[in-house]
């Protein structure tokens, strides 16, 4: 009888999980599988659909546009992630410091994160405007440059503009993550370090950083995956230009979708998916979530 009861409980439990499973299956896993399948076909709006196996991938391998977007995406990730981690850590340290203004500071810091990337993209588009943008006002006002800088008109300028805009948008998220990690460090350890006559800098390197390491790793992987799949900001701020130099992988795939070539675009997005997937496996290992539930 107990077994019956247990069995019923078990079934009820799975029933609780079922809706989530169904939704994810239908609107996440199925589309991914569909995209994978599409990538193995020549699927264009002006020709009949045909299975071509790895044909799209072979074309990708010799497609300079694809490699350019891969290079950009990689470089963008390599530059912006460490920047955001460093800035985020600085912010987290500031936010942790107990003051009456803490609530206000946190709300202020959350604003960039809460604003849609597409919206902040347009704001930064104006900020980098050659004639009257904020960036040129600052740069010529401070005297770094004599004339107005054509931010979005050169590949280097557009790249920097994107990194800055992305850092602005996502540093808050990193800061919040690291803040949680910081608050989890027991006070005693700091007090111990003070007793041992460790200065603030030493306290930081001997106590804070080592204990923050797991959270840092989580933040690193999270942000890396996010950077790899960047789309909104690039679409709005640079449109992938100039000359395709700031086209992320997501944007490259998207272009083919709206150009009518679903097969090729799917191949691009599968490559991105595999990159993100490999990284997410690392992330799952690092986050050790299992311990939490048991």
């Amino acid at each position: 009888m107990r077994k019956d009861h247990d069995l019923r409980e078990l079934l009820k439990g799975y029933a609780f999980l079922a809706p989530v499973c169904a939704l994810l299956l239908a609107f996440v896993f199925l589309p991914v599988a569909g995209t994978l399948l599409d990538s193995l076909h020549r699927d264009v709006t002006f020709l009949p659909r045909r299975f071509i196996g790895l044909g799209n991938y072979r074309s990708l391998a010799s497609d300079p546009g694809f490699w350019q977007s891969l290079r950009f995406t990689g470089l963008f990730t390599l530059v912006s992630v460490p920047l955001e981690l460093a800035l985020g850590l600085a912010f987290a340290l500031l936010l942790e410091h107990p003051t009456s203004a803490r609530g206000f500071l946190r709300a202020g810091v959350l604003l960039p994160w809460a604003i849609p990337a597409a919206v902040s993209g347009r704001v930064f588009e104006l900020i980098y405007n050659v004639q009257y943008g904020l960036a040129n006002a600052l740069v010529t006002g401070i005297g770094i440059s004599e004339g107005p800088v054509h931010w979005l008109g050169t590949s280097a300028g557009a790249f920097l503009a994107l990194v800055a805009a992305d850092a602005w948008k996502t540093t808050p998220f990193v800061a919040i993550l690291l803040l949680a990690g910081l608050s989890a460090i027991p006070e005693d350890l700091y007090r111990q370090a003070e007793v041992d006559r460790a200065g603030p800098l030493q306290r930081f390197f001997r106590v804070t950083l080592p204990l923050l390491r797991p959270v840092l790793v989580v933040a690193l992987l999270f942000r890396t995956i996010d950077s790899l799949r960047v789309f909104d900001l690039v679409f709005v701020l640079t449109g992938g230009g100039p000359g395709g130099s700031t086209t992320s992988l997501s944007l490259y795939g998207y272009r083919f979708f709206v150009g009518g070539d679903f097969g090729y675009g799917s191949a691009v997005s599968v490559v991105l998916f595999l990159l993100a997937f490999m990284l997410s496996l690392l992330y799952l290992r690092a986050s050790r979530f299992g311990r939490e539930i048991a």
């Binding site: 264009v44 010799s62 546009g65 008109g153 230009g241 000359g243 395709g244």
Partner: protein
């Protein structure tokens, strides 16, 4: 229990959103929708025209405003057509992606309407354009609403000052004139250049390249092949590169930043003798505050031999969606917008170059837009970019390789050979 309520709410809202699937709670409402983009002031004028149409025919039209950028306009249209949406019924297409739309079967043939009930016949429009751009598999799928071709702008005062009789007929003459004038003008204006044109890595570069290559060069589509690597093309690309690096008559940022607006602003500041641009720049050059007002002339672009120059065909064509719900009404709108009366209005009001030939003979138009008569000859000889459905891929390849040659990273021969190779790869995907 809560989940059930939530599901009910979801279902209700799905049904309640206006654009319902016919199986939804409300029957679909048939409306004629017209999608067009452009500068906001242009869109205001479209509203005016559409009100006029409704007043005459009693058919209400909803204007769906699109962004100005041509890529965004293509994207929003593509998504709607891919999903076989009922809206928009009528829309404008850039001639560069017209072929892809036609080949994808998104355009309803206009032949049943041509020449009937106030709808103009085929003979009203430029025959070459109709044949090359608007006809797909024997059927007329679009009409040219606005046509464009590159022209040469020049400073009449400077030509006179340096004793040059008239605008150049060959590229060699252009080079000589530019060198002469530039040497002279540089004394007072160190930033003066002989010739500004579009060389940045974007679609415009392909247009300029075709014009440099002229009537004996360019991109040929022959028997399913796309040929770009020809001796004439190599010569043209070499000439373009030399303008920047060897003769120094085009500014160094030609291949990094020069697009239509950069070139126009440069010429308008008085810093150039020659400018290659579309006709739209004329009214801006003549606007108050322009330094070249009253001293700007227009001429057809030169060629390597006299009379062998050409213009790259640009422009916007109007089409009818195959999936719209207001085909008959949409056709009437197209007939209205391509009528002589409305085309003349668009020419006078927005400076548009009509796809109809008779507008060019109109005296009122010729008075307001003095380059119009000349423009007709230019348009008649204009060459389109390859009208193939996969043109955007071809264009990307060309943009990249041509720009690399202009930057000096590749020789013209290497660039065109590489482009030819890549284009062949793309074609093999689409055979």
């Amino acid at each position: 229990m809560r989940i059930r309520i939530l599901l009910l709410v979801v279902v209700f809202l799905i049904g309640a959103s206006e654009d319902s699937h016919p199986a939804g709670l409300r029957p679909p409402v048939k409306t004629l929708t017209f999608a067009v983009g452009g500068a906001p002031s242009e869109l205001d004028y479209w509203e005016e025209l559409l009100r006029d149409f409704t007043a005459r025919t009693g058919i209400p039209v909803e204007l769906l405003r699109q962004p100005t950028d041509t890529t965004l306009r293509r994207q929003t249209l593509s998504v709607a057509l891919l999903a076989r949406e009922r809206d928009p019924d009528v829309f404008l297409m850039d001639v560069a992606w017209l072929a892809q739309f036609a080949a994808s079967g998104w355009l309803a043939p206009l032949d049943p309407y041509l020449g009937r009930d106030g709808f103009s016949g085929r003979d009203a429009f430029f025959p070459r354009i109709l044949e090359l751009a608007d006809t797909w598999q024997g059927r007329t799928v679009a009409l040219p609403l606005y046509v464009d071709g590159g022209i040469l702008y020049y400073r009449t005062d400077l030509l006179r000052k340096y004793g040059i009789p008239g605008p150049p007929a060959t590229w060699e003459q252009l080079k000589e004139a530019a060198l002469k004038v530039q040497a002279g003008e540089r004394r007072d204006r160190p930033g003066f250049y002989g010739f500004v044109w579009q060389g940045a890595q974007y679609e415009g570069l392909v247009c300029d390249f075709l014009e440099f290559a002229g009537a004996d060069g360019g991109v040929e589509t022959v028997g399913g092949q796309v040929i770009v690597d020809t001796p004439r093309n190599r010569k043209a690309l070499g000439f373009m590169r030399d303008l920047i690096h060897e003769h120094g008559i085009s500014p160094p940022n030609t291949y990094t930043e020069m697009t239509e607006e950069e070139a126009r602003a440069f010429f308008q500041e008085g810093n150039a003798l020659f400018e290659r641009n579309w006709p739209y720049a004329w009214s801006l050059h003549q606007a108050p505050g322009s330094r070249v007002k009253g001293v700007t002339g227009t001429a057809p672009l030169p060629g390597f031999e006299p009379g062998r120059g050409t213009a790259c065909l640009g422009g916007w064509h109007i089409g009818l969606s195959r999936y719209g719900d207001a085909a008959a009404e949409g056709a009437r709108l197209i007939g209205f917008l391509t009528s002589r009366e409305v085309q003349k209005k668009l020419a006078l009001r927005l400076g548009w170059n009509s796809g109809r030939m008779d507008v060019y003979d109109d005296p009122e138009v010729a008075e307001r837009l003095p380059y119009y008569r000349e423009l007709r000859a230019v348009i008649e000889r204009a060459r389109p970019r390859p009208m193939v459905p996969y043109y955007s891929q071809v264009s990307e390849i060309l943009q990249r390789r041509l720009n690399a040659a202009l930057a000096g990273r590749l020789s013209p021969g290497e660039a065109l050979a590489a482009a030819q190779r890549e284009i062949r790869d793309v074609l093999s995907r689409y055979d």
